[in-house]
Symmetry: C2
Subunit: 476 residues, 2 copies
Amino acid sequence: VAPPAVVSDLRSAVGDAHVLVDEDARAGYETDWSGRYTGRAVAVVRPGTTHEVAEVLRICRTAGVDVVPQGGNTGLVGGGVPRPEGSTERPAIVLSTRRLGGVSAADPDAMQLTAGAGVTIAEWQAAARAVGLDAPLDFAARDSATVGGAIATNAGGSRVLRFGTMRSQVAGIEAVLADGRVVGSLAGLPKETAGLHWPSVLTGSEGTLAVVTAARLRLVPRFEHVVTALVATASIGEAVDLTGRLRRQLGSLDSVEIIDPAALALVGGHLGRAAPVTPPPGGAALLVECAGHVDPTSDLVAALGDIAGDSAVAVDPLQRAHLIAFRDRITEAMNQASAGGVPPFKLDVAVPLGALEELAAVARRAAADDGCRLIAFGHLAEGNLHLNHLGARDPATIAATVLSAVADLGGTISAEHGIGIAKTPWLHLVRSSADLGAQAAVRAALDPAGILNPGVLAPRPPAIGRAATPTAPQVP
Amino acid sequence: VAPPAVVSDLRSAVGDAHVLVDEDARAGYETDWSGRYTGRAVAVVRPGTTHEVAEVLRICRTAGVDVVPQGGNTGLVGGGVPRPEGSTERPAIVLSTRRLGGVSAADPDAMQLTAGAGVTIAEWQAAARAVGLDAPLDFAARDSATVGGAIATNAGGSRVLRFGTMRSQVAGIEAVLADGRVVGSLAGLPKETAGLHWPSVLTGSEGTLAVVTAARLRLVPRFEHVVTALVATASIGEAVDLTGRLRRQLGSLDSVEIIDPAALALVGGHLGRAAPVTPPPGGAALLVECAGHVDPTSDLVAALGDIAGDSAVAVDPLQRAHLIAFRDRITEAMNQASAGGVPPFKLDVAVPLGALEELAAVARRAAADDGCRLIAFGHLAEGNLHLNHLGARDPATIAATVLSAVADLGGTISAEHGIGIAKTPWLHLVRSSADLGAQAAVRAALDPAGILNPGVLAPRPPAIGRAATPTAPQVP
């Protein structure tokens, strides 16, 4: 329980209407969208300015109250909702950044705009398109996920191949440290070598180093011509080779998504129509998209070469949408397939490209051993597979098996979802003790009291300035 | 003076041949190429492996000896040579990374290779080109500058517009902390969200957080078709507008370099031929380069539009070289013009694009007030001007005037050269005390004894673990 004075101090800082203490009002912030992660906040605080964020942090630090920053609450690893009850020693607030809105006019020469942390990815895209440009980032949760959340998790999505992850899109940042000091700059200089680069340090830090309040974001050209292809490959090795060739040959290549045969069959059943290509077991379908100021269709067809025979290519928007549905609606198909049951158990892993075939084999074996249904898809150029286990009996064993194999293959246990609290038990697989020790030192340097998102990214709260009570990780 | 045991310990660690103590042997490492920055090292140590780097750091930390990491010694801000005598309280070694060589075979599908910190930029380019790819980074010092140095200074150069700075090229990193612990990974995963991203944290840290020993580097396609144009614009505003249009319209745009009329005249005199275009006073010449798998010439000419009349476009390699010389040989022309005298006083600044015209005006006024000759050129898309003052009488006043204006315009006092020791007196202009305090805390967390490159990036050595003796900044 928080000292009673805290809530009244918070009300003074941000206004009564923006401190939610009623259970019903808090509920949507205390539990993630999947229902898997939940905790208790003494209040949900919705500051509307950077100054108010600073005030909230000062109040919480003084009172010894933890702060869980939250954007659109679309995270998948439990990092944006309060820790499970009993797992932390101090009360917590949720600091919702959704009211930190506002998008500046886009600068068409610098190809940048400034957005508050609470601006959604879709709003960023819309503001860019209003001046004939586009946002370099896109993923399914675009209507809810926020700029601040995308920074915190270094969000990826389908256009990483061409434009990089969120880290590559942040030209400037404004953030508030745990003690209320504001750091960073929104000038958006593409080149500056004058000490610590805050966009780089804070992107991917999952709310543990500072609360991001605004960012200067990169824009990219809006392309008039888009072509989409769905291609079947006989093996994952062939898919890797093909993607390498496309990357080297096609400047217009925007994305290469991989869909395993089981996922293709599932989504086909959901859509009520079979996919136009049928990869064999052990093979894969690739959804390839090229975009340019000049029509890239003939280049794409030429680059597909021999494989073009087993592919469908579409330029017409409606025909493109028919192909894209085989990737975009997999999650919906899985949710329907598991309706009434538990949501699929998800892993988000990546390995060096040469190891992707082996990773897929390991995942198939682990699913077979469990007896669950494996639906795999992802972003091929980054070696990133989303492994979804429907009806998994023993998720912990699947996780231990797959994540250990991923680590042995030189991969990562989290490509784009983050560590949150879901993956902390396995972080040691991909980070040495020297690495984790150095990270903890940096975190303690910026947040000595350890109030920012404790338990996230670390198996236990930082030991400095507080008792080292282990947080029980919530193994899904 | 170092404890005598240190040198013998260092010899045991890396071998007698790689600990240079004779004055003649040390000389090339103690003074920068311009002769402006110099100091005294008790030894120059040249470890050949990551393990040896770790040993060297452990020995120095135990003995209380500072460590100045050095790559190709092509830096421009005094950050890679020992501090001026009398300005530090402890003896220092130079840790040369040049023997950390070795380039792996390039992975054509991942489009990456692994390089030791001592590999030169030219070697990186050659290894990429051997497999039909290219390095995304290029700048004049390519034959001497190293991968480690480029990481330390977040090097830029001419291709930043298309591919980003060095920060965007580092997919993986291996580095040794001040206490000898090794952090990072060379797996090169394009997407990983699993805590602190070492490539991001260490790039641009100027040797103050760790010693980089190797990196996994990005490769880009090698384009068959290259077209170069030299274009005159009537004003810098027109140059900014044109560049914005080219960026939005041309996917093949590789670089846009700006050359002021005085620079164009100087280099023309040096080359013995006038430039094919003549921008008016207050205008600028742009050297534009496009590269692609498809010939971009007609797209470039179309995008130049009305301005194409006052431009020269070349596709033939020899004709291209004739145009490129007007940018690449400016430094040579300046050195000749100031032969026998002091080298030009250099500033490397960037401002938001909308302020570039004003920056140029400020720089012209400051040079006129001093009575020196101003030669300005740089990288237009990043708002980055290199201001070179030939025969400057009062560099400190020029610096104070220009750098204050840059800060007022929302710019940076160092775009791509770094802060080193040359710019520390002005760092407060672009960084708040909150910002500098947080940076010092991060630095102290990773290097509590403050042995790594003291005096660089901070007006004085970190106060933690040592007496806070101010380093006298060496104002050029």
